[in-house]
Symmetry: C2
Subunit: 340 residues, 2 copies
């Protein structure tokens, strides 16, 4: 098994977290895949409520739930002591436990013992699978779309998920492919590509979107940015291994410098398109940009449509804010292209 695979349905563990920004992993899973979220586990009555049925571990097991997924962001370095009784009970009862925390589940001896007793898996989504091969660059069957960005953290995951949803709604044969921790928790499968050793990054990306039907699309969650001083190596390897037929550039209006790297300006969308094609054509000579997704939250509502229209005219591409408009305009454009 070369990708992380999470068994569903889930019970989402929220600890005693009351603040919305810190439950965004749990909220994200529910937003995108309500059908696999059967229950929530809250330690207190004022813990944030996702609106799911509250269950204890025994009820969860009886309901056929397979996995307890930690849906909160970690604040301190270690797992809070008041979480441990629940995690131990879950592991003993045979529920897999999934986390993307800095403290790895597998480094907690009592949890390892409990999971062995219960024949449960401890899945740290920061740890890539073993035995990832070196990239071979061979052409695979099926179609692929990769999201890229002018920077990190401006909507590549969201855009990929929305594109998948909108393509499904159009009756297309499509899968979302997660390359990051939250994406893996949402989709139940994937590889944390930024945690893979350098020589195996493009190989990991090849494993992530294997051979498929001729008319099938993999929508691959992008990482980093090809002009990013810290993370471009990952972006480059993901691009080569994904061998995308199509890519969508994600951008945030009014962001001027690389987030946390204030000395580096945000590249233009045109520069990102040019370098992405220049690198990507090594493994797919027909690579092309099919749209632009803009996070327009910094614009006033009366500026937004003009901004998107101007971008669209400049690049002759559909340009949307996926949160507001969805991505149907891009899907329509994809359907109009005769991909080889």
């Amino acid at each position: 098994m070369h990708t992380i695979e999470i068994a569903s349905p889930y019970i989402i563990f929220l600890g005693d977290e009351t603040r919305i920004p810190y439950v965004k992993t749990g909220q994200g899973i529910l937003d995108w895949h309500p059908e696999i979220c059967k229950a929530q586990y809250r330690l207190d009555t004022d813990t944030y409520d996702l609106g799911l049925t509250d269950m204890n571990i025994q009820q969860a097991v009886q309901a056929g739930i397979k996995t307890l997924i930690i849906g909160t962001a970690q604040v301190a370095g270690s797992i809070p002591s008041n979480w441990m009784p629940v995690l131990l009970e879950a592991a003993h009862a045979g529920l897999d436990i999934v986390a993307g925390l800095h403290t790895l589940l597998k480094t907690i001896p009592e949890l390892v013992n409990a999971s062995e007793d219960g024949n449960a898996r401890l899945i740290d989504v920061r740890i890539p699978p073993t035995d990832i091969p070196v990239g071979n660059g061979k052409k695979r069957t099926g179609k692929r779309l990769l999201t890229v960005g002018t920077d990190c953290a401006l909507g590549k995951k969201y855009s990929s998920l929305q594109l998948t949803k909108d393509m499904l709604a159009c009756g297309m044969n499509v899968d979302f492919r997660a390359s990051g921790q939250t994406g893996i928790m949402i989709s139940g499968e994937g590889i944390p590509i930024d945690c893979v050793v350098g020589d195996f990054i493009s190989g990991a990306a090849e494993v992530l979107s294997p051979d498929n039907d001729h008319d099938h699309w993999d929508i691959i969650e992008g990482q980093g940015g090809i002009f990013h001083p810290g993370y471009a190596a990952v972006t480059h390897g993901l691009l080569l291994g994904s061998q995308p037929d199509a890519f969508v550039v994600c951008h945030e209006a009014n962001r001027c410098s690389i987030s946390s790297w204030p000395d580096f300006s945000i590249p233009s969308i045109g520069e990102v398109i040019k370098l992405t094609i220049e690198i990507g054509k090594l493994t797919n000579s027909n690579i092309q940009c099919v749209g632009i997704c803009v996070n327009s939250s910094t614009l006033k509502s009366n500026e937004r449509s003009n901004y998107l229209k101007q971008l669209s005219e400049s690049y002759q591409l559909p340009c949307v804010d996926p949160l507001i408009d969805g991505t149907k305009a891009i899907v329509k454009h994809i359907q109009s292209i005769n991909f080889q």
Copy 2:
């Protein structure tokens, strides 16, 4: 400590290896740094002879030797049983042991015990140091030259070492910076950059060539190839983190396809120069190509000079076979440039 550091002088362990290609690590250390090679350890009388003084462990310790370095390539998967008594004796006696083998020294319990008894270090040069930061992209003082290539395994390490040697001979202030296992053994310091996790590759490259004197040159051993379907991610991160002022392209005459990737043609030297500049200018806007190193071993001697001359005229750059000509022509060109 962010880089691997090996204490000298060395005793080079050759096992019972009789074949020249399998002792090239030991031979390489001796060729480039004879001053740190005080002795050799051979298991049999017909073991390959580097021409160094044969010593046993007791003699090595008395001679002030600090490190036993395994100078052979591994044939089988594990360490041969007839090596173990020597390695255990060395570790007990306080000699650090250095290896680049598939089987890690640190996974052999009796060797770990012996090294703890002897207060010796077990250094696996495949394992990068911990605590490597994410690349910050900040400009560092001093000058840097990176070797890049049209493929892997065509002389980037050799060219880097020869450039270092020739620059030293011209009285320049220069250090070789090893990014691969053999280079680390030869120079006694470095980071195996292809073993670093994706998000930290450019950070590792930054650590490898820290701030230095204004007139100091780091000659950084390149890895992979920017058009390589398997390894380009590492090349990209190393390029960004090295922020080179200058680079040299390494090429092998008559190599037509990427080694072990027969479906991928070797890019032209011009394509490599163009993409290296396009990517590298993110962290050094003055990046420029200063020469070409050719492995011309596949050419007849009467073709060689014409081949190099034509390349030199095409690219308006000095072009040498470093094994035959050395790299003084490139060093002279570097000295003629007014680097900012």
